[in-house]
């Protein structure tokens, strides 16, 4: 049973595995294509429902979607949040990146001048249950409120001393740093483009 096949024997032996890989790959690509629209819609709905928590005085119905070209040259969708009085209250920027286990998708709430982070919401994550998944908890997300948006957020293990420091989650340093990294990257990429391209201030 353990004789090694001669010549191209390995490939011949594994033809079923290779064929199945191609068939399943194609099938999954088809499923993803068919469903990605609906999934994106669901995420969109979730985004809109969460915006009032991210920007103070927001009127979810008055949110305007804008497409801004980031510093990396790619188009990014951002949300201009208006208040119930019609005044411009702030921005919500979707951001994504690699977490500890899998991709993490977040929404960053900012004030109208893009000077301060007003809120953070985790749309999607697959971090370790009981440890990394505390990044979704209000306690962790609140630590980002009030941080300046023009300097990178730094995760520290002790008590935060500077304005741009955020305390890490115990036992989930990499997840915490991933979230900070995603926020910093998105702000570095989009902060100035949003200010210039939208003509807002």
């Amino acid at each position: 049973m353990s004789e090694a096949p001669k010549g191209g024997g390995y490939i011949r032996d594994a033809w079923l595995v290779i064929a199945l890989a191609l068939v399943f790959g194609g099938g999954l690509a088809g499923v993803q294509t068919a469903l990605s629209g609906r999934i994106a819609e669901n995420k969109q709905q979730e985004t809109y429902s969460v915006i009032p928590d991210l920007v103070e005085g927001a009127d979810a119905g008055g949110t305007v979607e804008l497409v801004v070209k980031g510093k990396d040259g790619k188009d990014a969708r951002v949300y201009k949040v208006m208040g119930t009085d019609g005044a411009h209250r702030g921005w919500v920027v979707p951001a994504r990146g690699q977490g500890f286990a899998d991709r993490v998708e977040i929404l960053v709430g900012l004030d109208a001048e893009l000077a301060t982070i007003t809120g953070l919401y985790v749309l999607d994550q697959k971090e370790t249950p009981g440890l990394g998944d505390y990044i979704t908890s209000e306690g962790f997300r609140d630590r980002f409120r009030g941080r300046p948006a023009d300097a990178p957020v730094v995760i520290v293990k002790g008590e935060p001393k500077a304005e741009n420091e955020v305390k890490a989650l115990t036992g989930a340093t990499i997840s915490s740093e991933s979230v900070a990294g995603i926020v910093n990257e998105a702000l570095a990429n989009l902060r100035e483009p949003i200010l210039t391209q939208s003509g807002a201030g």
């Binding site: 049973m1 353990s2 032996d13 594994a14 079923l16 595995v17 199945l20 890989a21 399943f24 099938g27 999954l28 499923v31 993803q32 469903l35 609906r38 999934i39 669901n42 995420k43 709905q45 979730e46 286990a101 899998d102 999607d124 994550q125 697959k126 249950p129 009981g130 998944d133």
Partner: protein
């Protein structure tokens, strides 16, 4: 050793109680503990697992003639992974809130031992009809297992069942039941009861 192989009906009935995956085989313990803090996530998990189990069993049985012994586990795993991904995407598209609540446990169905055990024990050796019956029976058994645990945990922990209040509002809600320790306690106690019941039935029939 020409033993008669179980028929589709026998496989189906066996999966519900005699070879119950949770209480007799003690397989799939991870979702059993993780998502049974409420009936709704538990039943969604059962539905997703049933979908994967049935599809994987049927597909494995259909190609059982082509399987090479030293590559069969690889084929099982690939088949299961493909169907789990489909189930995960369907949940994200049509039951988004539940998908978020179940989180990483839906992709973890890939490593649920019930599914690969059925592929190995039944689907790779018997016809599609038998494999289908086996998958449906095991799914019902899994559902029974999760339903019993989730019922205990949800009623004692939140005073609700399927989200509806069944206990008066004065019920304090045993927080431990909603957390992992409560899962272990409930599972352990129910396993003991299941074992006692099966021994009693064994004594009664002798």
């Amino acid at each position: 050793m020409a033993q008669e192989e179980p028929t589709a009906l026998e496989r189906f009935i066996n999966g519900i109680l005699p070879e119950n995956p949770v209480y007799r085989q003690l397989l799939g313990m991870c979702p059993t503990l993780a998502v049974t803090n409420g009936m709704e996530p538990a039943m969604t998990m059962v539905a997703a697992t049933a979908f994967v189990l049935i599809c994987a069993n049927v597909m494995t049985s259909a190609i059982r003639g082509l399987l090479k012994p030293h590559l069969r586990i690889l084929v099982f795993t690939m088949t299961i992974a493909a169907f789990v991904t489909i189930a995960d995407r369907l949940l994200a598209a049509y039951m988004y809130d539940m998908s978020k609540q179940l989180g990483p446990y839906v992709p973890l169905i890939i490593v649920n031992c019930i599914i690969i055990a059925r592929c190995e024990v039944c689907a790779s050796k018997q016809s599609v009809r038998v494999a289908f019956g086996d998958a449906v029976g095991q799914s019902i058994g899994f559902g029974l297992g999760l339903a019993t645990i989730a019922t205990v945990r949800e009623i004692l922990g939140s005073g609700t069942w399927l989200g509806l209040h069944v206990l008066p509002a004065s019920w304090p809600g045993w927080g431990i039941m909603v957390l992992p320790p409560g899962a272990f306690l409930t599972l352990g106690l129910l396993l003991g009861i299941a074992e006692w019941l099966s021994r009693r039935r064994g004594r009664a029939s002798t």
